[in-house]
Every structure is written in C-alpha cells, then in structure tokens.
C-alpha cells in the first residue's frame, strides 16, 4: 500500500527530525556549562574582551588564588549553602508529603477548606511577603540564623499540591488499611509504608527544591550579614560586586563551584527523571 510506504519514508525523515531537535536542544542546554568551564580557565581581561570563547586558557590557578584570597572562604560558604539547602529540602519534602497525606488519607472536617487555602497561598507572590518577611525576621532577631531560611519551606503549597496529585494514584489505601489491622500506629505507617512508596515523587520535588534553595540569593543576602554564614551565591555575587574591577575569571570559577554540588544531587536523583514519575489521577 502506497500510503503505508510513504508513511514509512515519512517516519524515517520524522525520526531524523526528532533526533535533530533533541540534539540541538541538548547543545543549547550544555552551552552555558561549557562557557562556564572555559571561562573559569581564562583571565578577567580575556573575558572582558570576549566573554564567550570555546578556547580554554591557563589562568585557572590564578583565578583560584583570587577566589581564596578574599576574606571569606569558599569552603565555609559551601558548608553553609549545604546546611541550608539540604535541611530546607528535607524539611520541605518531608512535611509536604505529610501534609499531602493528611489531605489524601483522612476525612476531616476542614479538609476541603484547608486544601483551598493551600491553593490560595500558592497564588500569593513571594514578593508580597518578602517585605514583611524580612522586617519580621529583623524584629525577632532571626538575622544571621539559618533557621530563618530553613524553616519557612515547611509550608510549601506547590509541593503539597504536587505530592497530593502524585499520591492519589500511587498510594494504595489497601496497604494502609492492612497495616492498621496489624496494629501499626498512623505515624509509623506514614514513615515506614507511605514515604517509601512516594519516593519517586519526592525525589523529583527534592531536585526542584534543592535547586531553588541552593540558588536563592536575595533573602539570604538581606538576612545573613555575618560573613561566616554566607552562602555560595552570595560569595559569587560579592566577587562580581565591584563593578569597577570585576574578577570575571574568579567569578566563573565560583559559579562553576556553585553549580557542581547541584550537579551531584541532580545526577543522584535523576534516575527518577529518566524513569519518569507517574502523576495525575488515574481515569478509566
């Protein structure tokens, strides 16, 4: 049948098209990383003359020297960023899942209102609260305290929303019921049965949250004035801050060092992205 034949030809062309699109997008994705790596090896003057180049240079040592010669230390900033991001991510994912479980698994009087409120919070732009938030933190003396950055993500409506959508099809209530019959406490059921079942969904969210926490700049900048509490992005922006004499080479090296841990976390959790995380109500 000619129709089938042509569609087969078409499908070969179509497949080539698919791969071409994917490869172009992949190159686009890699481009900033390549530039970052190359520029980390170039001198500030070279970068100022031509910001984009694919030819590495030999200034990585002097860039590192600039980076470490400042009064703050990358290792300390790294540790601070790690504490804040890991804690915030873990708390956010754990409590969002717990909250989603409360909405999915139990019938309680104010459940519907509660869920509607979660949706409403999602709509409040963070800028609305940022003014009030930072003045409040100053008032109660939470400046220079990681808790001011770690605790707020416990109430993350978008994550709750996602976990709820994820849990509805992925969590068989039957298992919960049988565990109850076995006499397991509700909290234990959640920790030992529900959490492991939700792992793929939690992993995806963990990536999203970790990335946004790690890159968070503005609020930490205002809240953390003690240099020993600075985060990686703050350190890099400090390097870029002297507009009259920016150390671009060191900035790129700093950016590269900043992005590396995200890489590690991302690739650790990326198998869930590769495998895919099922989400959405099962409809029949």
């Amino acid at each position: 049948m000619s129709h089938k034949a042509s569609s087969r030809n078409g499908s070969t062309a179509y497949r080539i098209f698919q791969y071409v699109v994917c490869i172009i997008l992949a190159i686009l994705s890699l481009f900033p990383f390549i530039i970052m790596i190359v520029n980390a090896t170039r001198s500030s003057a070279q970068i100022q003359a031509h910001a984009l180049s694919l030819i590495p240079s030999h200034y990585i040592k002097s860039n590192l020297a600039v980076l470490t010669s400042k009064t703050f230390h990358p290792l300390i900033a790294f540790r601070n960023s790690a504490i804040i991001s890991i804690c915030a991510t873990a708390l956010c994912v754990y409590f969002s899942t717990l909250t989603a479980y409360a909405v999915v698994a139990y019938d309680w009087k104010f459940k519907k209102i509660f869920f509607a409120v979660i949706m409403a919070i999602m709509m409040i732009p963070p800028t609305v609260t940022s003014i009030g938030f930072y003045q409040f933190m100053y008032k109660i003396g939470m400046t220079n305290n990681f808790a001011a950055l770690i605790l707020p993500p416990i109430a993350a409506p978008a994550t709750v929303f996602f976990m709820r959508q994820y849990m509805i099809p992925a969590l068989p209530m039957e298992i919960v019921q049988s565990a109850r019959i076995d006499g397991a406490g509700e909290f234990r059921i959640f920790n030992q049965i529900v959490l492991p079942l939700c792992k793929p969904g939690m992993a995806t969210q963990a990536i999203f949250i970790f990335v946004s926490q790690w890159n968070n700049l503005f609020i930490p900048m205002i809240l953390l004035t003690d240099k020993n509490k600075w985060t990686m992005p703050m350190m890099v922006s400090q390097l870029a801050g002297d507009m009259y004499k920016t150390e671009y080479g060191a900035v790129y090296l700093g950016l590269l060092l900043t992005v590396l841990p995200i890489f590690v976390i991302y690739f650790l959790l990326s198998k869930y992205i590769i495998a895919g995380v099922a989400l959405g109500g099962v409809k029949e």
């Binding site: 003359a49 504490i83 890991i86 804690c87 100053y138 003396g141 004035t225 240099k227 400090q238």
Partner: protein
C-alpha cells in the same frame, strides 16, 4: 538511593537541631522579648564574642567592596597598639543589584555597625538624607576637623560629606576629578602631536571644539569616544543643578543637552556606539574595537582600576589632558556611626584614612602605590587622593601613560568638581535618563517624547514630579 535519602534525612535532622539550638530559645520567647529583643540579644552576642576572642573588641565595618576593609586591616597591621585592643569584623555586600543599601540600613537600625563606606551614587542618603540619623559627626569621633584645612582636602569631598546642620560626617580618600585620557598614537596621527597641552586645545574647551576634533578624527577613520556613556559623566557632573531640587525633578540645561550631544555622536558616527562596562567598551581600550578610539573621560581610578588590565597592546600609548568640560566621577566616603561604642577607635581609623598627610598615612600610600606594592617591590596602583598636601609631595608617573605624571592634570581637575549637583537618587534617575536618551538616539522616539517619558518614569518610580 535509599541510603542517600535516609542519610540526607538523618543529616538534615542533625543539622536542624544544631542550627535551631540557639534559635529555638528565640522563637519560644518571641512574645515577651519582642519589645527588648534586639538589645538583649546584642548583649548576649557580644559577651559570647568577647569570650571566644579574648580581650579584643570587634570593629564592625560595612562596605560594598574590599577596598575600605583592606584599609582598616592595614591600619590595624601598622598600629600594634591598636591591634592589641581591636580587630576588624567586616561585612561586604555588593551594590551590583542594589543589595548593599537594604542590608546596611537593616544593620544600622540594629546598631551593629561601627563604620561604613558609601559610594558617590548614594552617599548623600547617609550624609544628608534619611540615613544621616545613624551617622556621627567627625568631631564626635575625636577627629580634629581643622585638618581639613591643613591637609587641603578637595572642597567637593567636604561638601558632600557635610550634613544639613553643617557638621562634617564623611570624607573620601580619593580625588575623582576627571581628565580626558587619550591614545598618543591616534593624537599624533590626527593632530600631529601627542603633547597634552596641544591635544587639550584640540578637543576643548567646550563641546563645540570637541565635535570639531571628532570631525577631524572621523576623516582619518577614528572615533573620538567609545560610546555616549563616556561623555555622560562629563555632562552629569559639570551641570549646575542636580536631578532633584525641593523634591521636584529638575532637568538641568546641560543635562538636557546630552540628548543632542548623544544624537550628534551617533548620527555622525563619531563613536563605536558601545555601552560603558560592556565587552565592546573594554575592546576600545585595547584598540580592538570597530575603529580606533581616541579616548575616554575619567578620573585617575579609571586608569588604574579599569584600563590597566584592559589596554593590552596599547599599554604606554596613553596620556591625560584637561577635558573639554571639568567634571568628577565617583568616589568612596567613609562614615562613622552614632551608636558605636568604639567611637574613638573608629575616629582613629577614619583620621588615618581621610586626613593623615604623613608618609605612613593612607593617602600618601594610596597616591604613591605603596599601599599594595607589586611583588617585586615596585609601586602598585596609584590614585589621585583628596588631600592637596599629599598630592604635592606625591609622584604620579605611571607606565600606562608612558611615564606621564598624571597628577599634573588631576590636581587642577579637582577644582571643577563640586558636590552641589548630587542627590540621593542619582543612581536610579541616571539609569532612567540614559535609557530614554538611548531610545532617542536609536531613533525609536523623538526628543520631546523621550523627555516626557523620562519625567513620567521618574514620577512613577520615585514619586518625584517634574517642576
């Protein structure tokens, strides 16, 4: 994966407890301590500091670059008596995206700052504006302000640093009077000589002469400046009035004329149409731009901080001469805080930075390149400084200018500078203005529309109406 997750969970729990250790008490008694929380916490923080660091007291320094903290450190390093009692605790927040001011303001309100640095773009907020309530007059810091006269401090530095009660609260260490910094080889090619006295007469005085020179340069395939931003600083700080007078927007005639100057540059192709602080602007310093560029407008710091690392092959091919109009650009002021309990110590540091004219004072080192000499012991970066006395006994010969003594030009240049046309909102208003000027010169709107849109934007963003 399981391990990674559980490890993460365990680790985070541990860290949370660690991090919350000192915070839980704070959150728990939020209600009661709200009223006096700030004071009580300060006390506890300070006492803990004292314990951990022996007897040394900390001087809290806020700055937007490492420059001032480095100076404070140098003072401590060179004054053992002082070092026995004090050490520095510096906080550096960049101004790039405007983070410095919110952070500084919050810290000032908290009382956690002893001294801080402010840039020309926003210094007035702290010397005369809203931030001035946190600032102590130099007298109260134990500084002998009669030294302003004896050190011959540049008058505009003093004007800007004087509060509304007429008291001196801040001084800069640099002198930022501007010059025209030009390429010797291009001057020779077009004007027949690279002698500053002659070049100065070719390009000025006044903008008419400047454009005559631009025409000559164009005939030989050169541009006179890199972009319109280069002449903006000359226009801005040579004008008679600032942007805001009595809370009304004022467009000084000289600043309004910038529209026409910029348009003329663009329409006649007198420049490379670059924007300052971009790659192409730097390329013109190295002579690798579209066409050769005669020069840049700038103070001494532009040569030593910005151009030095960017001129590459044109190193030594530069010279300075008097600009077609006198102007100044930038500068950093040092201020002490009213609430500081170490006023005398702060005063000693500020005195050393801004008023000391001796060879071991900051200004002499700053001007002669001995503050941070090169590794081989030769003088490092040299800069023009605020004290006339120091300038007279300093040597401004630098290699990038082919051995020319730049102070010959920069010392008189300071006479043009005045502090009368600055306002606390300059940074914001300048960016709105430059934006509209670019729209006009690019041919996207006419002159009247650009002016009207500028007024609208200022009214909308700053609540400052045009007069």
């Amino acid at each position: 994966m399981k391990k990674a997750l559980s490890l993460m969970a365990a680790l985070s729990l541990m860290l949370t407890f660690a991090a919350c250790g000192d915070s839980s008490s704070q959150t728990a008694d939020t209600e009661e301590s709200k009223a006096d929380s700030s004071s009580s916490e300060e006390v506890s923080e300070e006492s803990s500091e004292a314990k951990s660091d022996g007897t040394k007291e900390k001087i809290n320094v806020y700055a937007f670059t490492a420059e001032v903290p480095n100076m404070v450190q140098k003072f401590i390093d060179t004054h053992p008596d002082f070092a026995a009692k004090y050490e520095m605790n510096d906080t550096q927040v960049p101004t790039t995206n405007g983070e410095y001011q919110p952070a500084l303001d919050a810290a000032l309100a908290d009382g956690g700052v002893d001294m801080f640095a402010a840039e020309a773009a926003f210094v007035l907020k702290y010397t005369q504006g809203e931030g001035s309530k946190y600032v102590a007059p130099y007298e109260d810091l134990g500084i002998d302000i009669s030294q302003v006269e004896t050190a011959e401090i540049a008058p505009y530095t003093v004007e800007i640093g004087t509060n509304t009660d007429g008291k001196l609260v801040g001084l800069g260490y640099q002198a930022t009077g501007g010059a025209f910094i030009y390429r010797r080889s291009i001057a020779k090619d077009v004007f027949g000589t690279d002698d500053p006295a002659t070049v100065q007469k070719e390009i000025g005085p006044g903008w008419d002469k400047f454009f005559e020179a631009a025409e000559k340069l164009k005939a030989k395939g050169y541009g006179i400046v890199s972009g319109d931003g280069d002449i903006w600083h000359a226009v801005e700080n040579s004008s008679d009035k600032g942007w805001v007078v009595d809370d009304k927007l004022v467009i000084d005639q000289k600043r309004e004329n910038f529209l026409d100057l910029s348009k003329k540059l663009k329409d006649n192709d007198y420049h490379n149409d670059t924007q300052d602080w971009t790659d192409d602007w730097y390329a013109d310093m190295a002579g690798t731009g579209k066409k050769g560029i005669l020069g840049f407008f700038g103070p001494a710091w532009l040569i030593n901080y910005t151009m030095k690392d960017n001129v590459h092959d044109t190193f030594g091919d530069w010279a300075v001469c008097e600009p077609p109009v006198g102007f100044f650009w930038g500068g950093t002021w040092v201020l002490g805080c009213k609430d500081s309990d170490k006023k005398e110590a702060v005063g000693q540091i500020i005195d050393w930075i801004t008023l000391n004219t001796e060879e071991d004072g900051l200004q002499y080192m700053w001007a002669n390149g001995t503050f941070a000499p090169n590794e081989d012991g030769t003088p490092g970066t040299k800069d023009a400084v605020a004290s006339g006395v120091v300038m007279k006994k300093s040597n401004g010969e630098v290699d990038i200018l082919g051995g020319q003594n730049m102070f010959d030009v920069f010392v008189p240049a300071n006479n043009f500078a005045n502090g009368k046309n600055l306002t606390p909102y300059d940074e914001k208003i300048n960016s709105l203005w430059r934006d509209q000027v670019r729209q006009y010169t690019a041919g996207n709107k006419d002159r009247d529309a650009a002016l009207a849109d500028f007024k609208q934007a200022v009214a909308d963003e700053l609540d400052i109406e045009a007069e």
